[in-house]
């Protein structure tokens, strides 16, 4: 029996980078002054604060996930990190979860308090230990929940990872990329710090382009219109980098004769509270959306194509905000299903002749409820739809989930783990990989580039827009 090296991969030895935090402190940002955005304090007793927070914030589902693991190791079979690095036992989800579980046991569990060595219970010694924990929970897990669904005991390792991220975020022990997006969301209400002026200008520009491109007169992208059928909330990426998505949606809504609006405030449905584990940020961002819907008296909230945005706005946001859901909240894919069912738009699948496969976003398929709906749409708008294996609830992460696209320090490890996704994509023989998540678009594009795959990433709105038959007139 050879001795196994249990050294973490180099990417997980990243030091704590605090230059952005120092700038935020120097600028005396409102979110810092009000204590919403937490900064790292090297003089503080961070271990003590961490333990206090752990004791205060833990809830019953988390306590059960801490207590129930039997260390069977079966989770290694489902994790793309563990599968891509079979000789690295530190990639096993149970090992990653054990890094916080051992603290829980030392702090809360009887056996761990009395004979800690017997159950490997241990307190973190210093900030360096907390930084190592940061690297594991932010850098070696995309919180895809694949291990959760494959755990015979029902241990929700992804929830433990998010919980740990939340504790570390409270101490400012957080990757710089995540900190920056948290800061922007706190400060501007959207994760890409898009100003109101840029937002409105881009919308106007998208509308003009759409009119000239399609020749359809009277297309509107309304903002802050009251009493609409729905409020449409988007990913800031659609304003900053990829306005095609908003343009496709506007075109489809117009042809379907929809009465819709974007809000001027509360338009960002993405939510870094999910990734950073900061429930207060999660509540703040989600509440912006809910308040916009209430203020504009919208009949429902429709969420653009975004995995974590959907999960945050449809599911977690109401819980974080402590608000009972009163307004129907749905993905735009459900809206598309409705249009197709009601014949409000006509599509011709021959307009998308290339072989298309579908990538399920983890936050939608494993933490949400949509598996069949996107396929139902794709079978209508694509001539050659083919499944990748595994798919649906068992699909592998795009590898960019959990905020990993904002953390360049972990990129090498992420792309190594992406081997599993690359093999999965290649086996389909498809030319297009469709996903209903902007984050997955970037994650998959990175995988495709790194592994030199002959594939292009598209989204459902894009394929539906392309498939619109010439006989469409505004309903």
């Amino acid at each position: 029996m050879g001795r196994q090296k249990n050294e973490p991969p180099p990417a997980l030895k990243s030091p704590l980078e605090t230059s952005s935090q120092e700038r935020a402190r120097a600028a005396n940002l409102g979110s810092v002054a009000e204590g919403r955005l937490k900064l790292y304090d090297p003089q503080a007793d961070n271990v003590r604060k961490f333990l206090d927070l752990l004791g205060r914030k833990i809830n019953r589902p988390l306590a059960l996930s801490f207590a129930a693991c039997v260390h069977c190791g079966l989770c290694a079979e489902s994790c793309h990190y563990a599968l891509a690095r079979p000789d690295d036992p530190t990639m096993t989800p149970a090992y990653k979860a054990d890094q916080i579980r051992r603290i829980f046991k030392r702090h809360k569990d009887w056996t761990g308090r009395i004979i800690p060595w017997w159950v490997h219970a241990r307190y973190p010694r210093d900030d360096a230990d907390l930084n190592l924990l940061k690297n594991i929970v932010f850098g070696a897990c995309s919180a895809c929940r694949r291990c959760t669904l494959n755990c015979p005991m029902g241990v929700d390792t992804a929830a433990l990872v998010r919980f740990t991220r939340g504790l570390l975020t409270e101490l400012g022990i957080v990757p710089e990329g995540i900190f920056n997006v948290n800061r922007d969301q706190w400060e501007t209400g959207n994760q890409m710090a898009v100003t109101e002026e840029d937002y409105l200008e881009t919308i106007a520009w998208v509308r003009e382009e759409l009119e000239s491109e399609t020749g359809i007169r009277g297309i509107e992208i309304p903002v802050d219109r009251t009493d609409c059928d729905f409020l449409y909330v988007i990913n800031p990426r659609e304003i900053k980098f990829d306005p095609r998505s908003l343009s496709d949606a506007a075109r489809i809504f117009h042809l379907a004769g929809e009465k819709w609006t974007l809000p001027k405030r509360g338009w960002d449905m993405t939510n870094y509270g999910l990734f950073s584990g900061d429930d207060s940020l999660g509540a703040y961002i989600a509440e912006n959306v809910y308040q916009a819907a209430a203020w504009l008296r919208s009949g429902r909230i429709v969420i653009s194509e975004c995995g974590h945005g959907y999960r945050s706005t449809r599911w977690e946001g109401y819980n974080w905000a402590g608000r009972d859901q009163t307004v129907p909240t749905e993905s735009v894919v459900i809206t598309l299903v409705r249009y197709l069912r009601q014949g409000r738009i006509k599509v011709d699948s021959a307009k998308n002749p290339e072989p298309v496969t579908f990538h399920d976003s983890c936050n939608i398929a494993r933490s949400g409820d949509l598996v069949e709906e996107p396929r139902w749409v794709l079978r209508r708008v694509c001539a050659d739809f083919r499944e990748m294996e595994p798919h649906g609830r068992e699909n592998f992460c795009c590898t960019g989930g959990g905020g990993l696209l904002s953390t360049p320090e972990y990129r090498s490890l992420r792309l190594e783990a992406a081997k599993i996704k690359a093999e999965q994509l290649q086996a389909t023989g498809a030319k297009l990989v469709c996903t209903m998540c902007h984050n997955c678009v970037d994650g998959l594009a990175d995988v495709i580039k790194h592994y030199k795959l002959n594939l292009k990433v598209v989204q459902i709105l894009e394929l539906v827009s392309r498939a619109l038959a010439s006989g469409n007139v505004q309903s």
Binding site: T92, P152, D156, G368, D369, R375, P390, R393
Partner: protein, 229 residues
């Protein structure tokens, strides 16, 4: 039967069992002390179905990809836990229904089940020692609990013939280990079966509400299309 064995089979077991039960009550109270969560969203599925699916998932190995990939692991799980059940049953049969073990076929059946569990226990110990990922996450409690189980199975195989006139030591060993187990279990990983229903219930409730459980295949299209949302 010696007075020592009689006391060991009866009073000692009852005291140990009461101890286990009272510690379990504290364990459950400990779990309940943690704040429950409340779902404020409108459902996309059924909590009840999700809970039922989650609790029964252990009887549906096809529902988990990891078990589909490793069917042998599931077979081992079944044999091991059948062995546990048989061994526990023997602790009640020997003192309270000894006539059952006068039938040779019954004894043989118990010995086969528990013997198979003993072999699985050894296989699991080997895996825990040899598989680097499992070895890394294993604690002294994991090893001790497993070794204890293996010894317990061995003792149970020897004890079920219930030959106290000729081999009383096998019964003393078996009931001695049982008493130790009853006291040790609540503090060890073996108490996972106490957490199991709670953990699966909580997961099933959340994922059932969201329509994730029961897990559905992404089906070939039906005439009815996707479910109405």
């Amino acid at each position: 039967m010696s007075p020592f064995l009689r006391v060991l089979e009866n009073e000692v077991q009852i005291v140990a069992l009461l101890f286990l039960a009272s510690v379990y009550v504290f364990r459950i109270l400990w779990i309940l002390r943690f704040e429950p969560t409340r779902e404020r969203t409108r459902p996309a599925g059924s909590k009840r179905e999700g809970i039922a699916y989650s609790l029964l998932s252990i009887s549906m190995p096809w529902s988990m990809e990891a078990l589909r990939k490793k069917p042998g692991f599931y077979v081992q799980f079944l044999i091991f836990h059948l062995g546990v059940t048989a061994a526990i049953a023997a602790t009640f049969i020997i003192p309270y229904r000894p006539e059952l073990f006068r039938t040779k076929a019954v004894v043989l059946l118990f010995q086969i089940i528990i013997g198979a569990a003993f072999v699985v226990g050894l296989m699991r110990l080997r895996r825990r020692l040899r598989n680097p990922a499992v070895r890394l996450i294993s604690t002294p409690d994991d090893y001790f609990s497993l070794i204890l189980m293996i010894l317990y199975f061995a003792a149970a195989v020897l004890a079920v013939p219930n030959r106290f006139p000729t081999a009383e030591w096998t019964l003393v060993l078996f009931f001695g280990l049982t008493a130790f187990f009853l006291v040790y279990v609540p503090f060890s990983k073996i108490s996972h079966y106490l957490y199991y229903p709670f953990a699966r219930y909580v997961l099933g409730k959340t994922l059932g509400h969201r329509g994730v459980f029961p897990i559905k295949e992404a089906k070939e299209e039906t005439a009815f299309g996707p479910p109405e949302k």
